[in-house]
């Protein structure tokens, strides 16, 4: 126990045979297996551990668990470093490294503490009142404010650890593994119900771990161990330690965060660091216990002021004396047990200062038996000291607690153990929409009405007596199990040693006598004082929600666990209203902060959203193609050869296809198989053009509108058989079109006999295009692909390179072209066979970029033009719109605003000088010299260098565009300081008559 001056020789749950070495602020210390960083620091006499948020005041360890507002440290180093971790929540391991935060240059000497000197200028909300002049200096002021604020530091490297998710379903979920939770789980588990029990700590037992009691005359921890062992053996029970129930959502879904490896220096053997559970429970039982509240007095933030239960925990659970000499200051009975335990641990008890005038006789007897003096009707008005407490000033409270009177006297001490009563942990209950009730006897909010299938038991329910906790647990377990359909045997509650009732006296802040100065802190983390509540009240920020936001009360990493109730009670006092009338702020998820990595689980980085690959992906990759995304798909952009840039490659490819022949992977297009007696009628309703008369073995281009008359998607439809069609969609809209069609078929037109399924993955698509396409095709198929047998817009079922294939004579490039669909397993063979067969015709593979150029040259519309604002008429499909039949969207397409003057229509654009590239994303305007705002006539939607025309081209949508053909306008891009004069043309640049594709 080298150097552990405050460690007792025995007692507690730590393993003294296992020393662990750790460093804090670079200095090396020893602790033991079973310690937390907080207990180990205290054992070594380290009391100053951090600086506060705003005033940079010295701060020590205040609690022993999740309630800790002060002792936040930067844990670990390098890629694994983490800011703001409460020392009370860190299980000690060998080699642990922690550093203090929010101080510079050192913890003992912190420049930021100047703020504490200027504190008078910095009451709550001071920044709203100043830093406004001169306005241009605000960025500088802000820079300063930002650097003072914040706490720990962000890691600078990616997180090396893995995280896992886990879905689970159970009949009964028990959150909290103290006596109440164990009792609940035991009864429910014995009933055969599927039970999940979790507790945030490494071991079960809850408060019993640090507050020794008896059950059936044996130490209560024996019962805890027996119960935990039995639960561990039950197959239907899942027992999770180090697991926090962090969020309670609708429909009884509770998120648990299991810290699988946080107690180790690093995760081992491929284990995840955290495992996030999403548990859907039939019934939930909340046995989350209660948290002690502090009492508020001047200087109550000094290192050495600590919750009584925390001091007791350090003594009992860790064998650590949190000080040498203590004053216990309480307004309720629970601190008497703590005082006795502290004394037993070797801490000198100077006195118990009890705010109550007449504590219950039992308390007094207990103190007297232990030889501890009690000062009733008194309060600690101030704690004195600098980096640590060295004494307190005590005065008498008057009758209503609104003032202190009499002679102040000082008591020397280095520890002040405070207890202001207990707040049930109602966070999860509130998250589940449960309504709270204020209990005057407990001076606390307790669960009242539930809205989900959930119940609370034990201290979480406001029941602090051990036997009551157990019996409530047994009852809750039995009820929950039977609600979930299991027969639960009732269990009789064992007999326990009796604990006195709390009987607190409401005392929200000890009045500050005139002769004393000092701040009375409510929220230790955010430096919110009792006076700030007064200021907020005076300034009109009187709702608790305004109070919170104006002062930042309860907005720290501890979410005000130890401060909110005092704050709202003080506000209630100011408003002369009852506490329930003032109410609480909203409890929100998460219960305690959880790493973002745990929330993301495996779903980050490459797995943040799925990727879809064509069966030809590996081939593309092996042939040097860079990829671009289209929705989830990865598409090969081009195949650069021998040092070509990407652009050189795709320009070459696009030229080559028009001159010779090429193949491109078009597997990403959506494909829907539509069957049924009414399939043709269905298509007739869906597309703007007619499909009833489409012959079997023929394809047709189609356009569909949304209900609002705007173009939704385009593609081809092929009649495979009388009652069977194959629909293609754009890559991006494939899912939406499928859903739209299913909706119409199922919900709106159930009378139609149609069924459909997406077959996108079942058919790989290869387009073969170019003047030599047929020649190549003939080499790989035995079927007749002559122009007569397979004319433009014809279809065949055939074999290609030995694979069963669907062959469509359709063209996106404007060339003689075929789309070949085959089963994906054959795709590579077919692709390679085409390349081999086409070698004589100089075939090449081409990528999505060349495909894009080819379609721009042909004036085909895609994403930039199908932008969700254009109508069929805008895009030149006006004549396709059938007047013979109604179709989706036709009525609203007739609206005034979607027709007539000023609509932006699809046009082609050519630079006047024949050379300049049309700037990407340019706007089309008439006059670059016009006064701002310059009217926008239209926009460039696509542009490229046309290798086949030898000059740049573009597509755009332009107000009254078709009437402007021949005009000269500016394609203007002030963003890139480019402006190019363009001539407006027809959007089809190559082969407007369509001879090439029919040839």
């Amino acid at each position: 126990m080298t150097g552990q001056a405050f460690r007792n020789a025995d007692g507690g749950g730590i393993d003294r045979t296992k020393p662990l070495t750790f460093t804090f602020d670079g200095k090396s210390y020893q602790g033991h297996c079973g310690d937390t960083l907080a207990s180990a620091l205290l054992a070594n006499g380290v009391r100053l551990v951090g600086r506060s948020f705003k005033y940079h005041r010295p701060r020590g360890i205040f609690g022993a668990g999740v309630e800790e507002p002060n002792a936040l440290v930067q844990l670990r180093q390098g890629a694994r470093t983490e800011p703001n971790i409460p020392a009370t929540r860190i299980e000690l391991y060998d080699g642990l490294v922690a550093t203090s935060q929010n101080r510079w240059p050192s913890l003992k000497f912190d420049i930021g503490a100047i703020n504490a000197v200027l504190h008078k200028l910095f009451p709550a909300g001071f920044y709203y009142k100043t830093f406004m002049w001169p306005a241009k200096l605000w960025p500088m002021y802000e820079h300063f404010i930002r650097h003072i604020a914040g706490m720990g530091k962000t890691p600078t490297e990616p997180d090396p650890d893995d995280y896992a998710h886990r879905f689970a379903h159970c009949d009964v979920l028990v959150c909290g593994g103290g006596p109440a939770g164990l009792a609940t789980a035991l009864v429910a588990g014995r009933s055969g119900a599927r039970v999940v029990l979790c507790d945030e700590n490494d071991t079960f037992g809850g408060a019993l771990r640090s507050q020794p009691q008896t059950i059936d005359s044996r130490p209560a921890m024996d019962w805890v161990r027996d119960t935990a062992t039995e639960l561990g053996r039950l197959e239907n029970v899942t027992v999770l330690n180090r697991t926090t129930a962090t969020a309670y959502y609708d429909h009884n879904m509770v998120v648990l965060d299991e810290r699988v490896a946080d107690h180790k220096i690093a995760p081992e053997n491929h284990e995840p660091r955290h495992r996030l559970w999403q548990v859907r429970a039939q019934e939930v039982v909340l046995t989350t216990g209660a948290i002690e509240r502090p009492l508020i007095f001047a200087g109550n933030d000094r290192p050495g002021v600590m919750l009584a239960s925390a001091a007791q925990t350090y003594a009992n659970q860790f064998g650590v004396r949190a000080g040498e000499r203590t004053v216990v200051f309480t307004n309720n009975s629970s601190a008497y047990a703590a005082a006795v335990d502290l004394q037993a641990a070797g801490i000198e008890i100077q006195a118990i200062i009890d705010a109550r005038n007449e504590p219950p006789a039992g308390d007094l007897t207990r103190a007297k038996d232990a030889g501890i003096g009690v000062l009733t009707g008194h309060a600690v008005v101030a704690a004195l000291g600098n980096h640590a407490v060295n004494s307190v000033t005590v005065m008498a409270l008057n009758e209503d607690g609104a003032d202190v009177t009499g002679e102040p006297h000082d008591i020397l001490c280095d520890l002040v153990a405070v207890s202001g009563g207990w707040s049930p942990s109602v966070h999860l209950f509130s998250q589940s929409r449960g309504k709270l009730r204020y209990d005057d006897d407990l001076t606390a909010f307790v669960p009242d009405r539930s809205f989900q299938r959930e119940r609370s038991a034990g201290a979480a329910n406001g029941s602090f007596d051990l036997s009551e906790c157990l019996s409530e647990g047994f009852t809750a377990g039995a009820k929950a199990a039977s609600q979930a359909g299991f027969e639960a045997a009732a269990m009789a509650a064992p007999t326990c040693g009796t604990e006195p009732e709390l009987r607190p006296r409401a005392l929200w802040a000890v009045p500050l006598p005139d002769f004393l100065h000092g701040k009375r802190f409510l929220d230790l983390q955010n430096d919110v004082t009792a006076d700030d509540v007064g200021l907020a009240y005076r300034e009109g920020y009187r709702s608790v929600e305004h109070l919170k936001r104006y002062t930042t009360l309860g907005m720290g990493t501890d979410q005000g666990r130890t401060s909110n109730v005092n704050g709202l009670a003080l506000m209630a006092g100011r408003r002369c209203e009852a506490i329930p009338a003032v109410g609480t702020t909203t409890f929100r998820q998460p219960f305690t902060p959880i790493p973002m990595g745990a929330i993301a689980g495996a779903d980050s980085h490459d797995h943040v959203s799925p990727t879809r690959l064509s069966p030809l992906y590996q081939w593309h990759k092996d042939h040097g193609a860079p990829f671009t995304t289209a929705g989830y798909w990865m598409r090969a952009q081009a195949y650069p050869q021998g040092g070509e840039t990407l652009e050189e490659a795709y320009l070459r490819e696009a030229k080559h296809v028009r001159e010779k022949v090429g193949i491109v992977d078009v597997s990403t297009l959506g494909k829907i198989d539509l069957q049924g007696k009414d399939a043709a009628e269905f298509l007739n309703r869906v597309y703007i053009n007619g499909f009833a008369k489409l012959a079997v073995g023929k394809c047709r281009y189609g356009v569909m509108l949304r209900d609002d008359g705007i173009v939704f998607d385009d593609g081809t439809v092929t009649r495979i058989a009388e009652h069977r069609f194959l629909i293609t969609t754009t890559t991006l809209h494939a899912g939406a079109v499928m859903t739209h069609l299913e909706y119409l078929a199922q919900v709106e037109w159930p009378e139609l006999d149609v069924r459909m399924i997406s077959v996108t993955d079942d058919w790989t698509g290869i387009a073969l295009a170019g003047p030599r396409a047929r020649a190549v095709l003939e080499c790989v198929t035995e079927g007749d692909v002559s122009d007569v047998a397979l004319p433009f817009m014809g279809f065949q079922e055939t074999h290609i390179a030995g694979a069963a294939a669907r062959l469509y004579r359709i063209s996106f490039s404007g060339e003689q072209a075929y789309e070949i669909n085959m089963a994906p397993g054959h795709a590579l063979a077919v692709w390679e066979a085409l390349l081999e067969a086409g070698a004589a015709d100089d075939i090449i593979p081409y990528g999505s970029e060349a495909m894009n150029i080819l379609r721009i040259e042909k004036g085909h519309v895609v994403g930039g033009e199908l932008n969700g604002r254009t109508t069929a008429a805008d895009l030149g499909f006006g004549k396709m719109m059938s007047s013979q039949k109604p179709f989706v969207g036709h009525v609203l397409a007739g609206r005034e605003g979607l027709n007539g003057e000023g609509r932006q229509q699809l046009v082609g654009l050519i630079p006047v000088n024949g050379r300049s590239r049309i700037p990407r994303g340019a706007q089309i305007i008439a006059d670059t010299g016009a006064k701002t705002p310059i009217p926008r006539l239209g926009e460039v939607t696509s542009q490229c260098m046309s290798p086949n025309l030898g000059h740049p081209i573009g597509l755009g949508i332009l107000a009254n565009g078709r009437a402007r053909i021949g005009d000269t306008l500016q394609a203007h891009s002030p963003l890139t300081k480019q402006s190019v004069a363009v001539t407006v043309t027809d959007p089809i640049f190559i082969d407007p008559a369509g001879e090439r594709l029919r040839g």
Binding site: M132, V608, G868, G897
Partner: protein, 418 residues
């Protein structure tokens, strides 16, 4: 109104800050007002302020069912920008942005408007095109925009993963340097204080439960604190717009959806700009207090609940740590939800209605915080003159029936899609 300044702060420090006056009164409602504004969010309070300041109308009540600023004004991710492509939107939001730039001084309340820039990330060439198109439109309409390359983005956001093999590689970004964030609560409080100083009655805990309409003219409202008369009533109730419209017998092209936001624990400055990504579905900035403030998509179902669900949290957080791999070990501290007024074209409605004297301000979707001063300015104009301002004529209710939608994303009449 006591003027706020470093001098008044120093003076009050000497007296222990005991003499600060109330920022606003809590008056009892009068039986009648010239104008009633329903909803004490930024828009409602701002409208009252500009009615008083610009139009000399001061006999105004702002009725609020809860606490002022507790609606979406008090729960948004505070991003202020004017980076729209549709001219109708850009001119309006640019006007709003200009008002932001002088708001603290105008209100004598520091709303901490922080022009740290807003960057939209482009993850594909098609997106770069789209952002260039938008940036160009912004400049033509008199706003500011800059195109950034990946290296320039990395320099502004060093934690951002700009590597070429990222799942969503960063190809570029559109920066609006004048965009940024503001202290959301401060906006509500600043307007409340300034409106109150001009005589406006802000009445909290007063829910409007009915509208009195006779012969097509509004005559007053029913509230949980009794009936109050007025010949002009404007609603600025964000997520509750549909509900209020029902009281006037109207159905609107609006649905209420829940949107969540969340903050990490506070950390020392690590992100000095606002980063948004449409493709990865998230936006993130760091507040002056140090938390990372994050949001993403709607939960995608109708809701008036102010509480969201876990799948969206997962989604936002995984997006954030995908873009910022070193944020993975930071902890999420708090999550919450707000009720969003999603319109059918993604643009707001600031309009007269078929009921005379009844005006609507709603349909703000993801972006009404940045609109606060602009919206309040033109809504006050519309109410005062019974005619729209030139900047909100296009936001009329009839545009949907006429086919004049202002659909920035082209998402069509699906209210959750914008």
């Amino acid at each position: 109104m006591t003027r706020y300044s470093i001098f008044s702060l120093a003076r009050n420090a000497l007296t222990g800050h005991k003499n600060w006056p109330q920022a606003w009164r809590s008056p009892e409602p009068k039986p009648e007002y010239d104008v009633i504004i329903i909803g004490a969010g930024g828009h409602g309070l701002g409208t009252a302020y500009y009615l008083a300041k610009n139009h000399g109308i001061t006999n105004i009540a702002v009725l609020e069912k809860g606490w002022l600023g507790g609606g979406n004004t008090g729960r948004n991710t505070t991003i202020v920008r004017a980076n729209y492509e549709r001219t109708e939107n850009e001119l309006f939001y640019e006007h709003s942005l200009k008002l932001w730039e002088t708001m603290s001084q105008d209100l004598n309340f520091n709303v901490m408007f922080s022009q740290r820039g807003v960057i939209n990330l482009a993850h594909s060439d098609a997106q770069v095109d789209a952002f260039q198109r938008r940036g160009n439109a912004m400049i033509l309409n008199g706003s500011d925009a800059m195109l950034l390359n990946p290296a320039e983005i990395k320099a502004r956001a060093p934690h951002l993963d700009c590597s070429a093999d990222a799942r969503f590689p960063i190809k570029g970004g559109l920066l609006q340097p004048r965009g940024g964030t503001a202290r959301h609560d401060g906006v509500a409080w600043g307007y409340a204080r300034a409106a109150d100083a001009r005589g406006v009655d802000i009445i909290q805990n007063c829910e409007v439960t009915g509208l009195d309409i006779s012969n097509g003219q509004i005559t007053g409202v029913q509230t949980t604190r009794g009936a109050i008369k007025a010949k002009k009533v404007g609603i600025a109730v964000a997520g509750h717009t549909g509900h209020l419209a029902t009281m006037a017998g109207m159905r609107l092209p609006i649905e209420s959806h829940v949107l969540q936001a969340m903050v990490s624990e506070p950390v020392k400055p690590c992100l000095d700009t606002v980063i948004t990504s449409g493709a990865v579905h998230c936006y993130i900035s760091q507040s002056d207090k140090g938390e990372l403030v994050m949001g993403g998509d709607l939960d995608f179902y109708n809701s008036y609940a102010q509480r969201g669900n876990f799948p969206r949290i997962e989604d936002v957080v995984s997006s954030v740590i995908t873009m910022f791999p070193s944020f993975s070990r930071l902890r999420l501290m708090r999550t919450w939800g707000g009720v969003m007024d999603m319109s059918m074209d993604g643009s707001p409605i600031i309009s007269k209605t078929p009921t005379k004297g009844f005006y609507i301000n709603g349909g703000w979707c993801y972006g009404g915080f940045k609109a606060t001063p602009g919206s309040a300015w033109v809504f006050a104009h519309t109410i005062a003159n019974d005619e729209p301002h030139e900047l909100n004529g296009q936001y009329r209710l009839e545009r949907f029936q006429q086919g004049h939608m202002i659909d920035e994303h082209g998402a069509g009449p699906t209210p959750g899609a914008h």
